[in-house]
Point group: C2
């Protein structure tokens, strides 16, 4: 017989209670009396693992994991109620048989849940009004629980240790693609799980992007800071076989995923000598990051960090190079977690403040036509007194070759 | 200034007209007078490229590409109507201003389109009844158009040429994960775009799976033929650091994606000597594949191929090893294209017949507790006279080490 899966770690299982409490609290402003989560990322948040099924959380009472697969799912989470089902119609039947009230107002993560599944769950709970709980769930996920912070600290540490080795993979005559492939390989060999999750599913990307020269200025179909044309129209992002030539810069922005949680860390390299003003702009990026990390803490308005970054870029005479050249991204940072692009967004007209336990990437970047991109990106933990940098490795514009 | 993107290739642009005609024909049984596609894979099908926007196809008349990004999208497809928009509400306004009738029954791909977008498009077309067009669109995509077949032929050829080198990457003392990482690297270095698209989005997987020994029998959360426990509960698929030990088998099932279209090809290797009955089962897999390829052609019921595979496995005394051991997958093949798991599915109770131009993967596999998986998988083109194998490379159970 095959072995049972190992129990999920105790600190994770303790954390799940916390997460469920926070999800419950988020139902109140929606007036919802229950939540059902059904897609991988939210199920990982609610259970620590991917399951094929539905996580049912009432506003009052214990949650139930209704699962279709794997067949041994119940062994993962012995202290929670797990129920094997084949179809979502069995959820309501099970609740009714257990004497539990059926929801009158049911929250579903409608920004991502497919329409057909939304409509089907509606017929499973004909008495319930459906409400879109995506923003509420994303808001909860933005503030990391204790074990999540531990995972992200460890992931960022591992990520930074691999990034520190990146310059050693450069060889004269490489293209951006060759360099990207060598670095992806280094990430995998050092524990990256490879998979790169983005919110919304439209921003499909392989392990990240390596952008050299004018490819950094290619108008992107995606909402990433810098895009790149990519190797093929079916995946228009990242390296496009630009030769790494003397006088250019190359930025490496590969996502870490060492334990399900992402880390975000970009570093830039010069190929031989690059213009002094480009070097200076790289230092401005580091200075802006440091200013934002001093300014940001629990209670800081998200918008204030963007305004400050914009102001510092402008004072340095770099406004038109900031966050792109022909097409400029309108943010300077974003939450990071189970997905690379979580809440909050640090941009203009964003309501809301930083909270302790949020984890953010700050990425003040500049693009110079004819040369390439410069700047750094780091992942930070929001605390009551500031932003604590988690991706610690050399930030200087290292010269390759 | 940045360069415009290159025009998409002329044979692709010609193909788009064909694809649009087929989509139009599929609207008729739905009684729909228009279709809107909004997610990446369907947009690639309709345009050859990823765009951020909506593809609008009326049952009568020319299609319109409503795009938000990239800003230079219009340059890609000069012979089609392209309209820059910010919000979906502008679609109806544009059609009305152009004197074009608004749909009364609008098809959307509701099995994947998020509920919030379905509801919003509903408010954009308040007079229209919404119908779920997913099955219709997937049915159209199952039968490849001329240029798609050309792409898939080229992709399968490239994939097979890389698979032929896989044995050279084996080193004594490797785990399945080490081997997987080495082969992923070989795929990338030889042109793989890396990204692996699955229908439905729930079956998240990195580049594919390398399964050794008893990991091949792990009950999977996914609907793949064989799963594997994976390295972490957040991505429970594939290699799990099983040491490649004498007496075991290891199956490599990495997806090809060399031009947007997937190819599917599995090969199995023996680590040193493995039991004779396991070697024989590998040959049974090859024999079943050959029998199905002779039997299958335009008009063959999909179900008939599954029944035949099951019968041949049973006659060989291998029924309980077929398609898994503890948890057995209930199909023997599936369509392949822009996603790895397209229509048709070759399984029991599947209505419908093969059609010329479909592209299928056949994967009759066996799992032996204590030893591992055996079998081959190949990608085939359905023709009027049979199945033409596109992934041509050695199928024997090669011994490594």
């Amino acid at each position: 017989m095959h072995a049972s899966p190992p129990l999920l770690p105790q600190p994770l299982r303790d954390d799940l209670h916390l997460r469920h409490d926070r999800l419950r609290a988020a139902l109140e402003p929606l007036g919802a009396d229950a939540l059902i989560l059904a897609l991988n990322t939210n199920l990982i948040y609610a259970s620590g693992t991917v399951m094929n099924g539905w996580f049912y959380l009432p506003a009052e009472g214990a949650p139930v994991y209704f699962y279709r697969r794997p067949s041994n799912f119940a062994a993962w989470l012995p202290e929670f109620e797990t129920v094997a089902v084949r179809r979502p119609e069995e959820i309501a039947a099970h609740l009714a048989a257990a004497g539990r009230p059926l929801p009158r107002r049911l929250a579903l993560a409608g920004d991502e849940l497919p329409a057909a599944e939304w409509l089907r769950l509606g017929t499973c709970f004909p008495e319930a009004e459906l409400v879109n709980g995506t923003s509420a769930v994303r808001g909860v996920r933005a503030v990391k629980a204790a074990y999540e912070i531990e995972c992200m600290r460890a992931g960022c540490r591992q990520h930074a240790s691999v990034v520190a080795t990146f310059p050693s993979f450069y060889r004269r005559g490489m293209t951006d693609l060759d360099f990207s492939i060598a670095l992806e390989h280094a990430m995998r060999r050092n524990g990256s799980l490879g998979i790169f999750r983005t919110y919304g599913g439209r921003m499909e990307i392989f392990m990240g992007s390596v952008l050299a020269g004018d490819n950094a200025a290619a108008p992107s179909v995606y909402d990433f800071a810098l895009g790149g044309a990519g190797m093929h129209p079916t995946i228009p992002i990242g390296a496009n076989r630009t030769p790494l030539r003397e006088g250019q810069t190359v930025m490496v922005d590969l996502a870490g995923n060492f334990n399900g949680y992402h880390s975000d860390c970009s570093r830039t390299y010069a190929i031989g000598a690059v213009p002094e003003r480009v070097r200076e702009a790289h230092n401005v990026s580091i200075a802006i990051s440091e200013a934002l990390a001093r300014e940001g803490r629990s209670g800081t308005p998200c918008e204030a960090l963007y305004t400050l970054a914009l102001q510092l870029a402008d004072e340095a005479g770099l406004a038109k190079h900031f966050m792109g050249y022909h097409q400029q991204a309108k943010f300077v940072g974003h939450g990071v977690g189970l997905e690379i692009n979580e809440l909050p967004v640090l941009a203009a007209r964003i309501k809301g403040n930083l909270e302790s336990g949020m984890i953010l990437a700050l990425e003040p970047k500049f693009v110079f036509p004819g040369v390439g991109p410069v700047g750094v990106e780091n992942t930070y933990l929001v605390t009551d007194t500031g932003l604590e940098k988690l991706t610690l490795c050399d930030e200087a514009l290292v010269t390759l070759g």
